[in-house]
């Protein structure tokens, strides 16, 4: 989010400086009746329900991290935090201040990360069934890939006004029906423990849904030629999809001990609504409780939240 803000401040500053320079050289031209705009930029994202997978996997990988045992860690599970939206729109100027139009905005982003840990310790209990037990375990999640896509066909209403000789500033509302997709792709390997087990699992989840979305943006427009101008805009985009449905495929392979091939492969596929499945990880510092996206199980409704602060820059063509 800090990136989006600093980018916005920098862009507005540049535009202001440019307007002073250009404005000193030529007189203002009246706005054209039709305007085509294309912009691109950055948006901050915090899809918490989707990112909960990262929280869970981090807890899973680090479940013995606070224990005083021999351990090694590598990598880090990363959340989806930003994206680069692009948008095109056409506006019709209705009056000196008001314009309406339609457009299409889109972004896709993906976060791929991996992490692993190994733990080793010896239990010495002279009065137990076995005097000494060796624990040696390696956990890895490689990779965890989170992907989202956001398609927003929308209508636009803009109010703008001249500021100084050439610069126009305005506020616009972009509202429409967002179509969003999300995916989780995850591979986990767990080896060892007190027994020489090896469990390999793969998870593929896809989901999609739609919902009402609105972007509220402040914009600045600076003509640099008779038909051509620069545009910068920023604001908040409210994109939430509450009814995500899709498919989940999990594959689990077991190959323990001295098995030279897979002993058992379990493949399950299910379609339905995404939910937040409550999960608990027993860690060395106590139980960690959270949730993971899942299908076909009990849980609270999953929300694909692609809202966030956005800043975009682009160009406009007058027709």
């Amino acid at each position: 989010m800090a990136n989006v803000r600093s980018c916005a401040i920098l862009t507005v500053g540049l535009l202001w400086g440019l307007s002073r320079t250009v404005g000193a050289q030529s007189p203002a031209a009246p706005p054209r009746a039709w305007q085509v705009e294309a912009v691109g930029g950055m948006t901050g994202l915090a899809p918490n329900d989707l990112n909960s997978r990262v929280d869970y996997d981090s807890a899973f990988i680090n479940y013995l991290s606070t224990a005083q045992i021999q351990q090694q860690h590598e990598g880090e599970m990363l959340k989806l935090a930003d994206a680069n939206p692009i948008a095109v729109r056409m506006l019709r100027r209705l009056s000196r201040h008001w314009s309406v139009g339609a457009g299409f905005a889109f972004f896709t982003t993906q976060q791929s990360s991996s992490a692993g840990a190994s733990y080793r310790y010896t239990v010495i209990d002279p009065r137990a069934q076995e005097y000494q037990r060796e624990f040696s375990q390696t956990l890895s999640i490689d990779p965890l890939v989170l992907t989202v896509r956001d398609y927003l066909p929308h209508g636009v209403v803009r109010y703008d006004m001249a500021l100084a000789r050439r610069l126009r500033i305005g506020a616009s509302l972009h509202a429409g029906w967002v179509l969003a997709e999300c995916q989780i792709s995850r591979t986990q390997t767990t080896q060892g423990g007190f027994y020489p087990t090896r469990r390999y699992s793969q998870l593929e989840m896809t989901g999609s849904g739609g919902g009402f979305a609105a972007d509220v943006l402040l914009s600045a427009h600076l003509p640099v030629a008779s038909r051509f101008g620069l545009i910068v805009e920023g604001g908040y985009a409210l994109h939430q999809v509450k009814n995500v449905t899709g498919a989940q495929k999990t594959t689990v392979q077991i190959q323990d001990g001295e098995a030279t091939a897979v002993e058992l492969e379990q493949v399950s596929q299910i379609e339905g609504r995404w939910v937040n499945q409550p999960v608990t990880v027993q860690t060395s510092s106590g139980p960690w409780q959270g949730s993971v996206p899942a299908i076909g199980t009990q849980g609270t409704p999953f929300t694909l939240n692609l809202s966030g602060w956005q800043v975009r820059v682009g160009v406009s063509f007058g027709i």
């Binding site: 010495i124 002279p126 009065r127 137990a128 069934q129 076995e130 005097y131 000494q132 027994y195 020489p196 087990t197 469990r199 689990v252 392979q253 077991i254 190959q255 323990d256 001990g257 001295e258 098995a259 030279t260 091939a261 897979v262 002993e263 058992l264 492969e265 379990q266 493949v267």
Partner: protein, 486 residues
């Protein structure tokens, strides 16, 4: 062994990987495939791995005689072990399993083969070898032997056991495939049965208690407390239990329950009253269902806590109170009805889990019709350990068998049939299906192949033959005292 591990379903074809692993088995097999046949002429699956097992394990042990002098204050155990054995068909060089030879070879002070002293430290006399299909190391005597006669191997060695607490006991873990080869030289595979006579001599001023897998005779030899443990019959080496504990920390009880002599050693924190109560209901149930308790000496137990796991042994168990019933049931299935290989041992765990849990009212879900596992087929017959799926999916398989037979009582009748006819007659997974067919006419071979062999027939004949050819090349290394065969 009592544990709790995961479950799953559906499987992965792996026949070729298994075959490749088996093809690499070195050391000879005579391929003398003495096939066993059921009453209707069906060839038993056990015949298939015979040559492979012979080529890996090579010796047939008649007896294991061990003397262990334990010094609790220092943790030293000085051992002398003598194996009396014959070579298996087609073999010329003996092997054995003995962990100290691998972990601290210098602890082996004497090695005598048929009265000829060998150098334990010399690769010219004895070598550590590996066998494809298992990580278990083998000790190979480099001098070819006459297969027609009985041989003896005597080993003097020193073990180091923890001295933090004065306990010396067997610590077998069948899931890991760890047997008593940590304590004496033997062959660590379920089907290798031998009579064990182990003398324990405790050099300490405090009084100790002892229980083990067999009859034990105590004598006081000066300042040394001595127990001679005799299994009285051939048993798997990994099923031999021994426990030495300070008398001051433990309680000892002797009970006669439904005609079964029970000797129990327990830490004072364990609820022995509850243990007795459980045995008073459980042992009569087992005897009613499956016949007399198999161990000649009765049941000897060491209870180390009220909760946790346990390990079964021949006529004994080292267990928690919570696992007591499970481990005692293993006295029938696992320690007397013995499976042929470690991978096949899933059956005794499945049977035990199924029956003990059924008797507690716990149901076992049936496996889905599409279930295809490979937990026996994915392992070499010479590998150690078994699939922990035995506890869950294995119990479900037993439930499926019970359903086919008509219920719990009929299944128990079949299990009794196994006890009556195949006690100490090691058999394989597919033998189990053949015996089931003999007993009931129900043929579940196809289902078992789907469940644990990925739907494919196990095939190892080719690999065993290849191994036999390889072995022929080393026969001219005979030392002078070995009579050559022609």
């Amino acid at each position: 062994m009592r544990t709790s591990m995961g479950v799953s379903c559906r499987c992965f074809p792996s026949r070729w990987l298994v075959c490749l692993a088996l093809l690499a088995v070195p050391a000879g097999a005579g391929a003398q495939d003495v096939r066993r046949v059921t009453t209707d002429g069906q060839v038993l699956a056990a015949a298939a791995p015979d040559a492979l097992l012979d080529s890996a394990f090579r010796i047939d042990i008649d007896s294991i005689t061990v003397t262990l002098d334990w010094y609790p204050a220092t943790g030293w155990v000085d051992g002398t072990a003598t194996l009396a054995f014959r070579l298996r068909p087609g073999q010329s060089r003996a092997v054995f399993n003995f962990t100290p030879f691998v972990t601290s070879r210098s602890a082996i002070s004497r090695l005598v083969l048929d009265e000829y002293a060998l150098s334990p430290q010399s690769d010219g006399d004895v070598k550590i070898i590996t066998v494809p299909g298992t990580r278990q190391p083998f000790i190979e005597l480099q001098h070819p032997l006459d297969p027609a006669v009985r041989h003896t191997l005597t080993v003097d060695y020193r073990l180091s056991v923890p001295a933090v607490y004065p306990r010396f006991s067997s610590e077998v873990n069948d899931i890991l495939g760890r047997g008593n080869e940590a304590v004496w030289p033997t062959i660590n595979t379920p089907h290798e049965l031998a009579r064990h006579v182990v003398t324990f001599r405790v050099h300490d001023i405090q009084t100790f208690r002892f229980v083990g897998s067999g009859r034990s005779d105590f004598t006081q030899d000066g300042g040394v407390q001595q127990w001679v443990l005799d299994t009285q019959r051939d048993v798997s080496s990994y099923s031999v239990m021994f426990v030495l504990l300070p008398a001051g920390d433990t309680e000892y009880r002797e009970w006669l329950i439904d005609g079964v002599p029970v000797r129990a050693v327990a830490y004072t924190s364990v609820n022995l009253t509850e243990a007795k109560a459980r045995l008073e209901s459980w042992l009569p149930e087992l005897r009613r269902r499956f016949g007399p308790f198999p161990a000649l000496h009765g049941l000897n137990i060491f209870l180390f806590s009220d909760s946790g796991g346990g390990m079964e042994y021949y006529g004994g168990t080292i267990t928690s109170l919570s696992a007591l019933r499970h481990e005692v049931l293993h006295g029938y299935f696992g320690c007397s009805v013995v499976l042929r290989t470690y991978p096949d041992s899933w059956i005794d765990e499945a049977v035990t889990s199924w029956f003990e849990e059924i008797m507690r009212g716990q149901q076992h879900p049936l496996l889905p019709a599409t279930y295809r596992g490979n937990w026996v087929g994915a392992r070499s017959p010479v590998s150690v350990g078994f699939s922990t799926l035995a506890y869950s999916d294995g119990a479900s398989i037993m439930q499926a068998v019970a359903n086919r037979l008509g219920g719990t009582d009929r299944m128990a009748d079949f299990l009794k049939y196994l006890v009556q006819n195949y006690t100490f007659e090691p058999f394989t997974t597919l033998d189990f299906t053949a015996y089931l067919k003999d007993f009931s006419g129900v043929d579940m071979r196809t289902q078992f192949l789907e469940w644990v062999y990925s739907g494919l027939e196990p095939s190892v004949q080719t690999s065993a033959t290849a191994g036999a050819r390889a072995e022929q090349k080393v026969l001219d290394l005979d030392p002078p005292w070995v009579r050559r065969r022609h």
